[in-house]
């Protein structure tokens, strides 16, 4: 049975007597007497009821543990005493108000203390109306409260900024893969900046395309706008201004004569009359680019923009593992500039961009700029990272939805409590104890109700899991080390 104990600000204390199986994250409906309205409460902390003399009781139990104690007392008395000592106080946060089955985010009223009743409820029950209104429902996992499927509306990701955060091995990419599959199956175009080359479909699926820089992902110089190429040299390769002016002149000359090519550019610089220092600076940088085989004069095997222009769902995974940082930056710079340019010119429909550990290959100003313009461009952005502090406060403030996996580090939790929309007590309580593959979802995707769920494992992708040395060793029969 649940009883209303107290209320302080938006916190309610509920007595659970006898103790049940309530757990953090559970939902309760606090029905207000005769009124047809309920407060939606969520359990954020569980403690024992403070009973006068409890310390003496516990010490007595401790003394009894090492001696034989025989009790001749009333059975019902012993049962009630046990129930009182075991009873729990559930500290709950108000998550909204249910009136006529309609959920509103705020609750400006307080229920009657004695006349109200408290019943357990589930997210599915609370969101019944919301779920019915979902346009493209997609199951991402199983709710921790009742084991039912959590459906998110994929349209909630459209034009939105979504963050997937968690420690390594917590299940971030498992969730991302599941979402990608849902988007692709519903005709979405996804680009994944894949830091670990793990977004590989297990079986061949023409909708999933791997882009391996220097192999099937190359850029024909002729197709790269001059401004993009120049900014590559300037921003990524720190080419001095005098050299920029020189190569700009060379580029214009070659373009005007119809001889623009990567090899042409190299030869032109090599044999033209210019300052030796400038020539050397340009030559060395072009050699680096040539070595990457990312920019050349061959038509690309897979052309990113044209792939994204094809009808039907698509997922382009840009493999970045093993690439030197400068080439990672180069590839992302080229892809993003191409995409943004195509979008600005109206040649590309909206896409979903999954950026894993985005801070590694682009500076935060780039991403902040993208976040500012994403809605106008048509990019739905999903950041996936295990370092919450790698994203700026600006990014957090703009986030529409956040998926949080386990964090136990106090500084990470403190940081997240400051920047996410969840109160710090709920966040710490929910996130610290989350097992592997379980996460907390907050924001638009779950109608602003903090939801705990176990991520659905997508069989369509391989890789990504933690590789363990001893796992494979222990799978083999152990050889006896005893001679003979």
């Amino acid at each position: 049975m649940l009883y209303l104990l107290s209320k302080a600000s938006e916190d309610y204390e509920i007595l659970e007597l006898p103790a049940g199986k309530s757990q953090v994250g559970d939902f309760l409906a606090l029905k207000d007497g005769s009124e047809d309205r309920s407060l939606v409460l969520q359990v954020v902390h569980i403690s024992y009821l403070k009973v006068p003399g409890e310390l003496e009781e516990i010490i007595r139990m401790a003394r009894a543990s090492d001696i034989l104690v025989e009790s001749q007392s009333d059975e019902l008395f012993e049962q009630v005493r046990g129930e009182i000592m075991d009873s729990k106080v559930l500290r709950c946060k108000v998550r909204g108000s249910l009136t006529n089955s309609s959920l509103t985010g705020n609750a400006l009223w307080a229920p009657a203390r004695m006349g109200s009743t408290i019943v357990r409820t589930t997210l599915r029950e609370i969101r019944r109306v919301v779920d019915e209104e979902q346009m493209i429902p997609f199951p991402v996992g199983l709710l921790l409260d009742d084991g039912s499927e959590l459906l998110i509306d994929l349209t909630d990701l459209d034009g939105a900024l979504t963050l997937i955060l968690g420690r390594k091995g917590a299940g971030k990419s498992t969730l991302a893969k599941s979402v990608i599959r849902g988007l692709v199956e519903n005709g979405g175009r996804c680009v994944v900046l894949d830091i670990n080359n793990e977004y590989m479909p297990l079986s061949h699926d023409r909708r999933f395309i791997q882009l391996d820089p220097g192999k099937n992902l190359t850029f024909e110089l002729r197709m790269i706008p001059k401004s993009v190429f120049i900014s590559l040299l300037e921003d990524l390769m720190e080419l001095p201004q005098t050299s920029i002016l020189e190569i700009s002149r060379v580029w214009d000359r070659l373009e005007a004569s119809g001889r623009l090519s990567f090899e042409g550019l190299r030869k032109e610089i090599l044999f033209s009359r210019m300052n030796d220092y400038v020539k050397d600076a340009l030559t060395r940088r072009l050699e680096v680019i040539a070595a990457s085989r990312i920019i050349n004069d061959q038509p690309a095997d897979v052309e990113v923009i044209s792939e994204l222009q094809k009808s039907g769902g698509r997922c382009l995974s840009v493999f970045l593992r093993g690439l030197p940082t400068i080439f990672k930056k180069l590839v992302i710079e080229l892809i993003m500039k191409n995409i943004i340019q195509a979008m600005e010119r109206g040649r590309l429909d909206p896409i979903f961009l999954f950026a894993e550990e985005a801070h590694i290959y682009q500076g935060m100003p780039f991403w902040e700029d993208l976040v500012t313009r994403m809605r106008h461009l048509g990019i739905s952005l999903l950041f996936i990272t295990n370092e919450p502090s790698s994203l700026s406060n600006f990014v957090y403030r703009q986030a529409d939805s956040v998926f949080l996996f386990n964090y136990s580090n106090d500084s990470d939790l403190g940081f997240l409590a400051r920047v996410t929309q969840v109160d710090s007590e709920s966040l710490t309580s929910f996130v610290r104890g989350l097992p592997e593959l379980c996460c907390l979802a907050v924001g638009k995707v779950c109608s602003s109700l903090p939801v705990l769920f176990r991520v659905r494992h997508d069989e369509q992708f391989s890789g990504g899991g933690t590789k363990l040395f001893f796992k494979s060793r222990l799978a083999q029969p152990l050889k006896s080390s005893v001679p003979g």
Binding site: E56, R63, I67, Q72, S73
Partner: protein, 279 residues
């Protein structure tokens, strides 16, 4: 076992049905104490001090303590809970605790307590449990009106938690520093220090041989663990007999469930008359 005919024992169906309680309720063993009658109150007042002998045989010990608490008032009746604990310690050192109760007594307001009856019953049980051993009681007075048969070799020792004035820093103040017993005759009331460094306690021995007092305390000091001079078994009996607030609450809930009586808090006359600050 209830002394007052108007007292009704509640919450104890299981206890009442126990064989040893049935025997006790038969009333055969309850009669006016014989041991008290052996004390003769004439003669000059003397004080004799004896050192306690630390060497010698151990004896089994059974310690008894009882506690009671007012549960409240309801339907014109007063409700009281009482519990007894008997802690036995064998010569080998094995400890066994028996808790009896809480029993709940319903009686017309201010019609007496079941504490003494339960105490006497628990003491008689303890005497049966340690034949030829030591029965340790809390306090230096036997329950009134009731007594029980004590075998000749059994020693009944009472120790009071009300310690005589003494210096906490210098516990030897005014007394021998080692274990001793000081007997005030002809009343046989004692001051005793059971262990070196322990507190001096008020004590009493009920024995068939009044001259046996020093040997009774010596035997106790050898047979039980002593914490600041107080026997551990008696401390345990106190711990296990105490009725804690959670148990008071539980008893009130059970009375409501079983008997449909919602108890009101006991009236605190001091607070009512003097106010919460001075009461």
């Amino acid at each position: 076992m209830a002394r007052h005919t108007q007292v009704e024992i509640l919450l104890s169906e299981r206890i009442i049905n126990l064989p040893f309680v049935n025997d006790a309720l038969g009333g055969e063993k309850f009669h006016v104490g014989e041991l008290q009658e052996q004390i003769t109150n004439d003669g000059p007042e003397t004080y004799d001090i004896y050192p306690l002998e630390t060497a010698g045989d151990k004896a089994p010990v059974a310690a008894v303590d009882c506690s009671n608490v007012q549960l409240g008032y309801g339907g014109g009746f007063s409700y009281e809970a009482a519990r007894a604990a008997i802690v036995t310690k064998s010569i080998a050192g094995d400890v066994h605790v028996t808790k009896i109760g809480p029993l709940v007594a319903k009686s017309p307001t201010n019609q007496g307590s079941i504490l003494f009856a339960l105490e006497a019953f628990a003491q008689s049980l303890a005497v049966d449990l340690v034949r030829d051993g030591i029965v340790l009681l809390d306090g230096v007075a036997l329950p009134e009106d009731v007594s029980y048969h004590v075998p000749r070799k059994t020693k009944v020792i009472g120790l009071s938690k009300t310690v005589p004035p003494q210096d906490k820093e210098d516990r030897s103040f005014g007394f021998p520093s080692g274990p001793f017993v000081m007997i005030k005759r002809p009343f046989n009331s004692c001051l005793v220090r059971l262990s070196s460094g322990g507190f001096v306690l008020n004590g009493r021995v009920w024995s068939h041989q009044p001259d046996d007092i020093p040997s009774a305390f010596s035997s106790l000091s050898r047979s039980d663990a002593l914490d600041v001079g107080y026997p551990d078994s008696l401390k345990l009996a106190h711990i296990f007999s105490k009725i804690l607030p959670a148990e008071v609450l539980s008893a009130r809930i059970v009375i409501m469930r079983k008997h449909g009586v919602r108890l009101l808090d006991p009236l605190d006359g001091r607070k009512l008359l003097l106010g919460s600050m001075w009461g």
